[in-house]
């Protein structure tokens, strides 16, 4: 009887302490670090809508660390180190790592539909409706998001040297 009482009492104190204790886990502190290790192409190849949702998913433990093709090996290594996990090869379902490419608009075919401009996550395409569009090579992250929307298939990815 007394034992039960003591256990109950202890459990009560414990419950009180837990309820007052703020909830953070080891992983949550790593969110910023993981996000900054991602290439910020917002390409969605990881099956998440952007880099931030993917970083959040990693922190929650939903997503694996090898789903970012643009970041490739370097990114995987960095995240693995941040989380103390084993490095693993890139998941081929998400895509393959390749050298940096940037989008190039074939200006003879462009009809000025602004669809690619809307798709670009970093505002790297210049142009206005019914005007020819052009890619700012310096700003392009090579996410390929502008390729699919183009009705003329006039956007191609070109490898960058250097």
């Amino acid at each position: 009887m007394l034992g039960v009482l003591i256990i109950l009492l202890l459990a009560l104190i414990r419950g009180f302490l837990i309820s007052r204790s703020p909830e953070t886990t080891v992983q949550q502190g790593k969110f910023e670090d993981i996000l900054s290790a991602l290439p910020q192409t917002q390409c969605g190849k990881c099956n998440y809508s952007g880099c931030q949702p993917y970083a959040e998913a990693i922190v929650r433990g939903e997503a694996d660390i090898n789903q970012c093709p643009p970041g490739g090996e370097t990114t995987i290594k960095t995240i693995a180190k941040l989380l103390g996990r084993q490095v693993k090869p890139l998941n081929p379902e998400n895509g393959l790592e390749k050298d940096k490419h940037i989008a190039l608009i074939d200006e003879t075919l462009c009809i000025g539909c602004v669809k690619c401009i809307k798709a670009c996550p970093v505002d790297a395409i210049l142009g206005a409706a019914k005007q020819m569009h052009s890619v700012l090579a310096e700003e392009c992250t090579g996410c390929e998001l502008c390729v699919a929307p183009c009705p003329m298939d006039c956007i191609s990815m070109q490898a960058v040297t250097g």
Partner: protein
């Protein structure tokens, strides 16, 4: 003899950590008179012979230039002009193979000499000790002067920084610690007067309080030549022959006992160092108005007549080698620079540049296979920067750049001592260079990530803002009519029409 001088100036010598005692092989070349190299068929002048940004061409293809005429101007603070080393016609402005820090292909100007070697109009300044230091600096800058010891840091930058801070000591470095090279030894013996006057001039240019000329203890003739000319205003010191005693930070440690802060410059502790070659060339540039057009180059190794040459800048290496009897062999390599820090050149049509101190033909590069590191720690003992080469190597190979940086990779001077002693034959320096390059790439990438993220966030914010406003407008429109948005419909039809038009065009093209 040297002890006398030591006591005369009470300079106590210190020692730097690590280092090696190497067989110098300087006897091959240091007792032979240097020769002027005849004009080559072609002069190739790379626009980047220095650390910093490349110079900009100011001549056109087909122009005729005179010897000493400026053909490219500096493109920034850390940059210098380039001058034509002889008179002739500009054959081409293109790219060439050259020894340079980062890339192998650099833009260059190719001159076809006319054989007359006609001088451009020169403007000598004789009262160099009484003019304003800033004018002196300007003259030296206009002459395209860079550090001639090997790194090629623009000389005027060191001088300018010198006037900005109070300089305690100017050190003129005649310590040639790399084996085989004797061009500094020769230039001191042959041009001692230039060096001593040049030293006084540089001292005036940076307003240094003290001035030291340092030579190595195995160059007694050079010491005597200088000793005969100097007064009490300049200290002449011999330092023990120990590789890499001629390294900037190492020599400062030996002479003053001070350590240049890691990641810092000698200027931070009130010291400026120039090579003896720079002093001589600077003197020439000011008193005779001749810009930097030629330099002493040691050509040594497996050649018939190893010796020092006075070579016009831009002369192909091949041409220099012809002067001393070179017979190419399969197991040999030609190296620009010394055997410890030089660079292998696979194309001997490459030109001699402002930083070329030596051309070496060696068969020593054939090394046995790389074995695993056994952690013997020999490299730790010889490292002059007090690093841990074996750990650097392990982390560099594992591409753990965070750790590599924590181990001070960027304080590595790539002197090669560690690789020299390594019993496992590991080319450690190669790994460090690769790691340095990779880190630079990684940082660029990371900066790109950061930039992209910034832009993405800005865009998201803007879209949010617009959406809110659009929503407001929609609400207004909705209250007015329930019809489809006319603007939107117009857009759609426009796109459809345009697509049709272009498709027809495309088809036409195909036909």
């Amino acid at each position: 003899m040297s002890s006398e001088v030591h006591t005369r100036f009470n300079r106590e010598l210190h020692s730097f950590p690590g280092g090696l005692e190497l067989k110098t092989h300087k006897e091959l070349t240091n007792s032979k008179e240097s020769l002027r190299t005849p004009l080559p068929d072609k002069i190739i002048l790379p626009l980047q012979q220095h650390i910093g940004s490349p110079s900009e061409t100011i001549v056109k293809k087909g122009d005729t230039v005179l010897k000493g005429q400026k053909i490219a101007q500096a493109s920034g603070y850390i940059s210098v002009p380039v001058h034509a080393s002889t008179s002739g016609k500009i054959l081409d402005i293109g790219t060439c193979q050259s020894i340079h820090i980062k890339s192998e292909q650099v833009p260059c100007i190719i001159i076809e000499p006319d054989g007359e070697d006609a001088w451009f109009e020169l403007e000598p300044v004789t009262d160099y000790l009484s003019i304003d230091p800033e004018i002196l600096q300007r003259l030296i800058y206009e002459a395209g002067m860079v550090g001639m010891g090997g790194a090629g840091f623009p000389a005027h930058v060191k001088l300018n920084e010198g006037t900005a801070t109070a300089i305690d000591t100017l050190i003129i470095n005649g310590v040639e610690c790399e084996p085989y090279i004797s061009c500094d030894d020769r230039i001191i013996r042959e041009k001692a007067d230039y060096i001593v006057s040049g030293t006084r001039m540089l001292q005036h240019a940076i307003q240094a309080e003290h001035c030291v000329i340092a030579v190595e203890e195995d160059m007694p003739e050079a010491f005597e030549a200088l000793n005969a000319l100097i007064d009490d205003d300049i200290e002449l010191v011999t330092v023990p022959a120990r590789y890499p005693a001629g390294g900037e930070k190492q020599l400062i440690k030996v002479l003053t006992g001070k350590e240049v802060p890691a990641g810092g410059l000698p200027i931070h502790i009130g010291i400026v160092m120039h090579n003896v070659g720079t002093a001589a060339a600077a003197f020439r540039a000011v008193t005779r108005g001749e810009p930097l057009l030629s330099r002493y180059v040691t050509v040594s190794g497996n050649v018939e007549d190893p010796r020092n040459l006075q070579v016009l800048l831009g002369t192909p290496v091949e041409h220099c080698l012809e002067q001393v009897g070179y017979h190419p062999r399969d197991d040999e390599a030609v190296i620009m620079g010394g055997p410890m820090m030089g660079k292998y050149i696979h194309d001997i049509s490459m030109p001699v540049v402002k930083t070329t101190n030596s051309i070496l033909v060696t068969s020593g590069f054939n090394r046995s296979r790389e074995k695993p590191c056994i952690g013997c720690g020999d490299c730790v003992d010889v490292c002059p920067a007090k690093l841990l080469p074996q750990e650097l190597f392990a982390y560099a190979r594992a591409k753990d750049y965070e750790e590599v940086r924590a181990l001070h990779l960027f304080d590595c001077i790539e002197c090669g001592c560690c690789a020299y002693v390594c019993p496992s034959n590991i080319p450690l320096v190669k790994y460090y260079r690769e790691a340095k390059t990779d880190i630079a790439i990684y940082e660029k990438k990371q900066a790109g990530y950061e930039h992209a993220r910034h832009r993405f966030e800005a865009r998201s914010e803007r879209l949010d803002r617009i959406e809110n406003r659009v929503d407001d407008r929609f609400d207004k429109i909705k209250t007015l009519s329930t019809d489809q948005d006319p603007v939107e419909e117009d857009k759609q039809s426009y796109i459809r029409a345009a697509v049709e038009r272009m498709k027809q065009k495309k088809n036409k093209k195909k036909d």
